[in-house]
Symmetry: C2
DNA sequence: AAACATTTGTCCGTATGTATA
DNA sequence: ATATACATACGGACAAATGTT
């Protein structure tokens, strides 16, 4: 298992946190392939730390579903099937819809304006065919809505699911289309009209449409 | 006679798992009070193990939101405010509704019958004023539905949220009422009619009603 | 301001369990 | 079946960071 050495080390972090972030990044971007065996001693050497923080990081990644641990046998990157997107998007959709609903009365014009700006850059990224940037901007757009719902339980659940979606997008080159741009704008208009139900409905549609696109392929 | 292979399921009871289960139980039932400081050395001695499995257990509990960790400073039981129930029930409600929707076409009459039996015992517990049993049966009822939705991402999110609900119910003696019994029966009838939308709607109502009850107090 | 006390974070050695020859 | 190799689980000691006197 060749472990890359070209990673940047953010300062002021514990070894555990560094290991967690780095390994998660490697799993999401495919550096560590699905089903790849994870040897804590090797990872420890690659990251220049001992096995303890690696073990702890792997356990957290296990809880989040990125690695599978078989006690006494081994640890490996969770295999990801393309079809998993069909299982992730429905719960993510209903949670995002709920977030939009709860965020509606709390939305200020400033936040809406900044969302509109992100959506503009999102449209540009799509026009340029820059899928990676587009996905990141899409994620950012929805994250801001979730934050404004001011509900930590929703934030936690969503962030976990979104990390998996991100990984799937990366692996299977799922593309977000121009249609999302219009839907985002519709969500913003619903916010401006304080239309809770509308914001929720469009949010859910926005996520489930990706699912439809996927099933057409 | 062939020897069954599903008897060795009792996964090796590791010290970490024991510590995790015990500490979580203590937090949920109030033995460990909100904001109480958790010293890993003390816990290690109390459970007769070293600090390592305690530390690992605390980190898992942290991910689930039961303890807060301040790096280099200390670890404490997450404070719970009664009002948190208002934040937990909405996401739990939409996820349970989604689970009901997805489970509808997969429901067999056998499962529905067993749910009806649980609901009967649920009604008995309420009639006897046995709130603890009632809550547990209510949880069991909904868990079976979630399992039958066959979506691991939903199962994970729900189980995390439900653990917190359980803790709140314990602390604040929130009571489930007879009305839930009828709603459960309505959900079962929707299953039998293969009415996805109906099952989802009633499921969500069932959870949000608890919220209304709470706000009336 | 500086040294102390306490607690957390990390390292590494060892024991235990698992799979394979 | 036994032995061997290997990976994990745990324990105990040291180092670093924080709050306090």
């Amino acid at each position: 298992m060749p472990i890359p050495t070209d990673f940047s080390i953010p300062v002021r972090m514990t070894a555990k946190k560094r290991a967690f972030t780095q390994i998660q990044t490697w799993i999401i971007d495919g550096t560590l392939q699905p089903n790849e065996k994870l040897n804590d001693a090797d990872l420890a050497q690659a990251l220049g730390v001992s096995r303890t923080p690696i073990r702890e990081a792997l356990q957290l990644l296990n809880v989040q579903g990125f690695v599978e641990m078989f006690p006494g046998v081994g640890t490996q990157v969770t295999p990801v099937k393309k079809e998993d997107v069909k299982k992730i998007l429905p719960p993510l959709g209903v949670l995002q819809a709920l977030a939009s609903e709860l965020a509606t009365p709390l939305m200020t014009q400033e936040v809406i304006d900044s969302l509109r700006d992100i959506n503009r850059r999102f449209a540009e990224a799509i026009a340029k065919g820059d899928s990676i940037s587009a996905i990141k901007l899409d994620e950012q757009f929805h994250n801001i809505i979730v934050e404004n719902a001011q509900n930590q339980y929703i934030t936690n659940s969503v962030s976990m699911l979104q990390a998996h979606v991100f990984r799937l997008f990366f692996h299977d080159s799922i593309i977000v289309t121009e249609k999302s741009v219009d839907e985002h704008e519709e969500i913003l208009k619903a916010f401006e009209k304080k239309d809770k139900a509308g914001a929720a409905a469009i949010s859910r549609t926005n996520w489930l449409r990706i699912l439809e696109m996927f099933e057409e392929k």
